[in-house]
Symmetry: D2
Subunit: 347 residues, 4 copies
């Protein structure tokens, strides 16, 4: 239930204000060189405090690898790792133990388990994603040796499309993202924004993905939809496909100069029949606005009594900038898993 | 790889022009009454030839249950079933053995396996979905005893929104769907249409879904995206969420007259933090246009040589009407699986 | 729950007196040549009526492959198959609907599901194994192309060791096994016998098996223990290992003439640390005596009332001769699965 | 591959001389009270240095729970934990990097992965089992609230049967086990011993276990066979069953004074048809002698050249005393998993 993947599996654990977040990445092939400093830099891209509007919770997010990597190489054994929680301020959450914040998981979690750790959202906190980024960062390094690269970018924040290119380059450099006027206004009003992330995977050869229930895009959808706040997923022309005629979205084949067969256009987003076709894999992921407003919020407690919550805690205004490495991480886990599974298609 | 589900699992098999399609539905609880005639009627909703523009391949789709149901009740044992292929015309596909049709799975399948059954698309044919409908139809009957109902409807076919209500009722009655002018024109031009299906699940109590990788909407996304031709999935306000402020989509809690806690609005689509909250579960699924046009198509063969394909075979103009029971079936499998898994949340 | 395997998975279904037994073998690599006549001959080895003391139920056990094999080759798609039940005499079991036979699964099945198909033991019947033999027979053909062979033989029937060699050759030839005096006496007294099957896998290269929970011998144990009536499993020197000193069971390495490294002895049974070492894999499986005696049996009904059962039905006196192809089938499924998984150990 | 279980899953990680061993226990129901001090005492039973002949490596084995338990109760979230490796002396293993010790996993591991951590056997070390004991100890506390208890005892060490009772009580008290003369002699000769552990589970109600591939005894066999050094598993009368007539091992039913149905004898070991029948579950597990002798050992290096290894490192003479909590832990994980799965047998 806290595991994703078939051959390459990631199991994560950790509550937002518990001692640590962590995970086990199992099924990683042996003999892959891993640069732990590059891994740390990748994980740092997800940290708070790097862009206007991001949470002021300052976690160092130091990755401690406990197993599976030795002398800079994977052993083929499970890679266990932890990231300590060091800047937890649980007092911010005391009053939340018996109150349900709207658009959060408080109510559903209580309904499911009959118990929950209210501190910082417990396991429902997006802090959970740090373990995904560690594991995905390792997968990205493995994919790089295969010539496969993954890049997520901001497609849209709030109402307005962003100049994705420039913003992303800044975010990638972990400098402060230039805030738009809209962003400033939203912050001033204690409000929040949603957004869309697009992600492209380059260098995937044809043949990855399982054609029925394990279609490559179905696996990608499950992985992306499992990221907190995601409300939609599409690949290739996505929802626009629904408004098109067949003749408008036909990816005609061509023989390329070097002899291989490819498609002239890529409406299919690099996947046909659930299997990669060698073109770029392209997808878009929609995030809802952050549910914690910096305004008083009317809600109810466990007994249904009306309660007004005062703004407290430290939160992002929009998750999209910090979501980029998370999206890349999830894509990497799915693609590497599919790559490994493909090895078993022939004797 | 051809299995979906955790406790309730469906494994399917079958090529379009092989002897039969079939599947095994395992993990179905014991003692559930199953009406096999009602099941057959549900499966019939997916059959061809019932609406203008649907394929003229006439499969009777008689469900033969081979195990797991005895004297009208489930035994708790796996439910094996087959649906024979009786109207296969494989000659239509002879020339396709060495040719790649655009926007089909021919090329990717060949790249993956090095071999494929070209007759009717082999296992890549949407005929594969008949097994899903059989299994999902059984799950729907089980869910009904729990007060859970599922209804899919046509949200859009091609450019224009449809009056979903009336159209669906007709489709449900398995009579011919009144074609719009657009549909007639598309057929005349040998072209095809995409569309969007919306689906609502009513009666689900709070607490279903696993909060990290197994979020209820992530499971639904994977299930829906695994249906042939699907290019996008969203739940609740979906992609529109990305353009909203947090204050615009807040599902405020209220205490209901009977004492339970619910939300005034349902932007979240019945799922919060990956767990059902007791409201209606609402989702939308985007289908690409049918890739087989009734026009000559330029493409390439295995060696990359240019080939022109003449229109042949029997195909739908738009899959959306026939997709309704498929969407319902997949939703049912996911919801019942989550229901069973929830039983293990407490000792 | 009715599925075994990780990459190569077998899911089976069927009740003894239902319409058919069957299964789905998924994950079989593409392009493997399958001889369906040889497969039928392998399945026939499990049939009744071929040796003294075997059940007189006469099932033809015709294998019908429904998918996944085309023009004599595997497609990489799931191989669905059925074997019809044609000689079921359900009347023999009418009185059993409310009675618990000792050492059978009647009582436990009722406790678990609250319902059961009493006809012929329902799904608890050893007839279930026919699906294993079909799937395993396919795996054996795939393994043969890799130079891997599997042979099970009778190690012991009842108190006395058998001359395994001669008996097995006869059984393999599907002729009647010459009954020992003991066997005749046991039959005359309406009693039954247990026995031990040994199984050797030759030609497995070093490196198969997952070293912690998925040790190759742990997978083999699970597979063999899942065969009806099995009560014990050991590999290499097995239980005798427990009585030995370390110095007595040391498999010393040697460099072989052709340059490879092997062991001089094979106390380890071809597996060290859960991973194959290239030597023969050797194991032994203990079967309990058939629980159905041809004598009146005192037992109880659902309410605990005393009941005497008269002997009825058609049963084996000892399962061991018919178990040989079942053991081989299970071994083949495990070994081929491990072979496929090994492909993912390196990028 | 490093995960066991269906609903309740344990994933472990760690190399013997890496920073830590650890694991994630997922699927544990919410609201179960866990006594962490009692858990530590259970883990301490596995530690070295408590009995004559056990390794002198002195690991404190302090369990650090990182998630999933809050204020003494399980949250329903994954329980992550680590146990630091503090007394590793890797220098002892330097010469082993290019040498294969007989009856160890050095050779097979190298064949599988092409790389291995030779320090202390890396992940192939029995130190891996500490994570099993932590997780199993938690499961044992959950089972206790259901009235289910598990006790493993020494059945045999070396050639002679031990007075299991007295020895176990001493071991349980974590005092030094009184060594037999045989044990002293074996130590003096630098040799080692195998042994047999028996294990009894009391208080399991009827209905646990999945009847085909997931038979309760098949799951127990897989779990026990996955413990390092185990070469055999049997339940009930086990291998002796093979030498008995059906009439000798019939577990006749009786109606008990309180009205329930039970069996007069328990040759079946508490499991019939793969499902628990309410009687005690009884099994025996055979361990091979420890493969590391305190004598010079002739072996080969990677290139097949003859090498003589001098005795080094710290090792047990017989693993059986320390194996008791490991066996109990594995039994607990299987039984609790089966208990949870049974909840899904009815709607």
């Amino acid at each position: 239930m806290n595991t994703i993947g078939k051959i390459l599996t990631l199991t994560t654990f950790g509550e937002s204000h518990g001692p640590a977040m962590g995970g086990v990445l199992d099924g990683m092939p042996a003999g892959v060189k891993i640069d732990l400093e590059a891994l740390q830099r990748f994980v740092d891209r997800r940290r708070t405090g790097q862009t206007t509007g991001s949470s002021s919770r300052d976690e160092k997010d130091r990755v401690e690898v406990l197993s599976g990597i030795w002398q800079g190489e994977t052993l083929g054994t499970p890679i266990g790792f932890v990231v300590r929680n060091t800047d937890a301020r649980s007092d911010d959450y005391k009053e939340l133990a018996s109150v349900y914040r709207p658009n959060h998981a408080d109510f559903t979690w209580q309904a499911k388990y009959g118990i929950r750790d209210p501190r910082g959202g417990g396991r429902a906190s997006a802090r959970e994603t740090v373990a995904r980024v560690v594991a995905g960062g390792i997968a990205i390094q493995a994919l790089a040796t295969l010539g496969i690269t993954i890049e997520a970018s901001i497609d849209r924040m709030g109402h307005q499309c962003r100049d994705a290119k420039s913003c992303v380059s800044v975010v990638s450099a972990t400098e402060s993202c230039v805030s738009t006027e809209e962003l400033e206004r939203v912050i001033a009003e204690g409000d929040t924004l949603g957004g869309i992330v697009s992600c492209t995977v380059k260098g995937v050869s044809a043949g990855l993905g399982e054609p029925v229930f394990g279609k490559l895009h179905a696996q990608l959808a499950a992985a992306m939809m499992s990221i907190p706040s995601v409300h939609g997923f599409e690949y290739g022309d996505g929802f626009e496909m629904a408004t098109k005629r067949g003749s408008e979205v036909m990816d005609v084949f061509e023989k390329r100069p070097e002899g291989s067969i490819g498609t002239v256009t890529n409406h299919s987003g690099g996947i046909q029949g659930g299997i990669s076709n060698g073109e770029d894999i392209v997808m878009r992921i929609a995030f809802k606005p952050v549910p914690t407003l910096m305004r008083p919020i009317d809600t109810v407690d466990h007994d249904g009594n009306a309660v007004t919550l005062q703004p407290r805690g430290r939160h992002d205004v929009c998750v999209v900038p910090r979501a980029l490495p998370i999206v890349e991480a999830m894509a990497a886990l799915v693609i590497l898993d599919a790559y490994l599974l493909k090895k078993t298609n022939r004797l």
